[in-house]
Symmetry: D3
Subunit: 246 residues, 6 copies
């Protein structure tokens, strides 16, 4: 199987970190091909940067889908997920959605942890749009700027994650935890051991779910609201995208 991974941020090293993480999850069952945005925000940190990044996500997906069995969105907040499901011929998996769905199979309440309080409402809205709000005990954020340095595991970050995860379990009644954010890759095992519940890594969950959908080979909608309309008129847009609507 061949899985396409697209990072709508322009940060190449983040792409590589997600790719390696995803590849490890699927092992020899699939190959992950990763592409990075050539324009847009360096890192998405708000609703409007997510909106700005969408154009490049659509362009890269339309350009690279051929020859792949599934697309995994390489971004924590699932930029353009439902639009891409309508636009493309291959299955599309988001990291946040895949993590939430996978965690749903490991317990009752899901505790979610990210980096930076400003993104918590955005994640909550995303969770609500999937109809999964009732499964989430709480979204919490750690505030550790050093986490954004994408290097080896940082003991300060690890301690902050463990402390917040203990609150998710003991105060909020979480049965399973998700660590949201590409730079939080690599801490799941230690956090899980420290707090005594399973911890889901979104890139690994998304890669495994992309593999699941690739194996199922679901038909692309030609009826209903996810069918891609035909014979549409566009002007001045990317030709790979326009070609899909002829």
């Amino acid at each position: 199987m061949k899985i396409l991974l697209i990072n709508p941020n322009t940060s190449q090293h983040v792409t590589e970190r997600m790719r390696a993480n995803a590849q490890q999850a699927v092992g020899e069952a699939a190959t992950i091909h990763a592409f990075t945005a050539q324009s847009g925000p360096a890192i998405i940190s708000s609703r409007s940067e997510n909106a700005i990044a969408l154009a490049e996500m659509l362009r890269l997906a339309a350009c690279h889908q051929d020859g792949h069995d599934a697309l995994m969105l390489g971004v924590s907040i699932d930029t353009g997920l439902q639009a891409l499901r309508e636009m493309l011929d291959i299955p599309v998996v988001g990291m946040a959605e895949a993590a939430l769905l996978t965690a749903s199979m490991l317990g009752g309440k899901i505790g979610c942890l990210t980096l930076g309080a400003a993104m918590v409402p955005v994640y909550e809205e995303l969770t609500a749009s999937y109809g999964l709000s009732s499964r989430v005990s709480k979204w919490r954020a750690i505030e550790v700027p050093s986490a954004f340095k994408v290097t080896d595991a940082d003991p300060v970050v690890e301690r902050a994650l463990i402390e917040a995860s203990k609150q998710l379990v003991q105060q909020d009644g979480s049965d399973v935890i998700i660590l949201c954010g590409a730079v939080l890759a690599g801490y799941a095992r230690q956090v899980s051991t420290a707090v005594g519940v399973p911890v889901v890594d979104p890139a690994q969950a998304a890669a495994l779910q992309a593999l699941t959908l690739a194996r199922m080979r679901p038909a692309k909608q030609v009826s209903g609201s996810f069918a891609r309309p035909k014979g549409r008129l566009f002007s001045g847009i990317d030709p790979d995208i326009a070609a899909l609507y002829k």
Copy 2:
């Protein structure tokens, strides 16, 4: 007051129809300045076309906000509404949201009517994202292709709207009706008379709510998740947008 209206479709005549409709609603209390997308879909008819149209909506909004008191989105499905509320300094109003909120003040259950069944799920998701699903009795669609000819009122369209509206009132228990779709402007009064409940025109509701927010002069968020982040890095994007994040 000066209200900015942006149509993210490239259809100039639709822009003009919405502008005239909005201007009539606010009368002399405000002037509506309308702009039309220069690239993108001719008419948005699906999730993915809405995603494609977003880039031009962001560009036009960033380019033209100066000198206006509020922005009214000239499109039935509120393209980029929450992202623009974060990005811009002026209040932003969507036609679907404004119609739903205004209709909420006229009764209990809101019946919603649009053109073409394929968009009903998209409107339902939009309604859910505003937390207003419980206020809507049902979304129904008429299938009358001649409605897209943007000319004078069409008796075939009028009959279809009245028939569907009667179902919204008698079968679905609607106390008020919304006619969603720029080309449905001009039928509200006849439908209202025929079915015996008030009928809300989204362009008129949006113009009046834009006027309301313009009069209130609410402060722009500098805290919380709707504050526009500062000092962000972008590459290759529209300079009017990039300038907002310096």
Copy 3:
């Protein structure tokens, strides 16, 4: 336009404060005519006092609606709102509902602040009845008895409002704040500046929404559950009310 304002409490000075506040919001676009209850509770502070006050609200509305374009209820908890929408010929706006709907257009989550914890559950039930619970981050109350002295702005009240508003933004993730309670008029601007999010004044929101509905001139329901029934028998009730049901 002429907007009718009815205070179902017997406190004349509270009526005057709301009237002045509402008049300022609409400026020269409308004239606010205010009436005060002649019997009932001095100040509504509980469910049962609200129920007791309802009779006088119905009487004054039936007596004074003629010659007005809309009715604004001059009370924080929207006494009799849906019943009046059925009973009267003109649009009816409640302060709590108008504030919640208007705040919905300024961000994601709405933080609500009132005076006295005992009323918080009553406001929460009211919010739920409008289907808007998911939009509210939290209802909080300050406990500052001096706020009830309806005089100039009080620095103790201002400090309490700012402190509670900071909790609404920083702990509860509110993007916009509502100050509920007639005696909290006049603090919105300072609180907004101090906490960095917009703050909505319910009397101003209600006056502007009453103006919006007056401009729209929606038809009165003659079908459905908000149509006023005809040919009904009553005994011993106010003749202005009875006359409406003949």
Copy 4:
């Protein structure tokens, strides 16, 4: 035990029908004392008539509560229920609420049947206010004017109830049925036999639940939002009510 029953309509014969029905349910375990409104609507058929009837309900309850162990509201839409729970010293039971709660113990989904479609939205709002919407499969209404003649069982009414109940079971998946409306008393047994699910009579459910609360002797709230406030000022209201707030 002594149970107080108050009918806020002025129709004495409806009061008597409910009293007899309630008395039959509790047998010798309690005596039902019934009172009828002396002013207000002859029959409540809308939101506004319910609002008009409230004043007399409050007056009769305050006047007659002494010497009774519980109050049962003799009206299908629970006029003033939560306000009376705050105002009075004895437990208060509504017919709609009691029927819904009792039916909850007999199956999964509750099908509700009343007389006249115009009241269905009002009942749906009432159900939502109790947090019980998810338990109700559907509210349906029969349209049989002869049902309002309060005489012996009418075969036309019985056939209409059975037909609508079959739809509630077969189309809507109801496991138990409620017949809402004082004039529908006396049909429960036949409908139940015809459709094969239990049928709850609201007056009987309310009488039995009033007996349950009377036996439990729950303390009256002196804390929280259902505590009756003290030291309140009123003018021009019924002295029995005013006395409660001293």
Copy 5:
């Protein structure tokens, strides 16, 4: 009336405590016949022990239903409630459900208190399954191992219950409290007096609701999803159960 009480735990002294408590509630109106599990967990303290205990609950119910007017489940988490409603000919009442429904008639928000935090999520799921989550302000737990000694009232337990109940009222806005857990019987009156809101004892609520249903004599479903299927094949199961499906 004869009410059957079945404890699916093997602890005889807990059965006796519940029986006495239930008998006191119904007085001379009914006789409570109690049976204790002969195999299974000594005390249910988790989801899986509840699942293990189910087999014995089903066996005892099928064996003993004859000659009784209703079944009251003698266990805090309503083991097998909906399955038994389908399986048996007599009405079935659960302690948790009966307490929640009865408390619903005493105020707005219900505060729930149990012993041991591990069971809180299980109770929350049970509450959600009844559609009653929106009525519950919060589930809280005390951690007082001495409470499990089923002897006379313990002042340490009483103090812990009062302190937690004050939080339920003052912080969580509860209008009524439920004490969940057979070993918390006997504290309701003192807690109620201390915190100023009514307190519901689940065994008493269940006994009174069993009496209510026994008096109503609802028909057993022969249609819909609660009808017991006929002509089913089983192998190796309890003959009293198998006999019901012939």
Copy 6:
């Protein structure tokens, strides 16, 4: 990987059909080991039969979990799913839950189709317990007794499934369909082609999700409500189960 499949019905041929179906989905990535109940209902067709079957499910799971990487429940209504997640050391996957979660990644609204209307409410309650009700457009049932003959594909069944699926897409707005019921295996491809949306087979979805969880190797909870309690007392139960709680 080794995946354990347990059928709590006593029908060996149904087990074999599910095993073959599951094995086909995972291919060489895992081996499915299947076991069939030795006592209980031949086929579960109601809530109470599901409850009766639970004991054997628990026994077989406790007896066979060693040496397996995940457990897949071989039954359409996920008998004992959450209890087994607490009881066992390996991940547990239910067919209904896995199908719903997998279908969530293929569109917006999920249409669900089963055999026999009596099970629809049971599936709806199951869906609600997963917090996924808002994702399901509708549960529909076909009534084709010949489907229960577990042989080759039956053209009558196929036509009924296609017709009901068209209603799910065209009337109910479904974007993806689930065929629930072991005997509906083998129709997914034809239904998908006929109606133009993807169709999910629960056994295949469950097998692939069991493989996903087996690859992730999530830690077993030792904290929170899904931790298996220790030092518990049992009497008269299966020794393999009892051993887990020592």
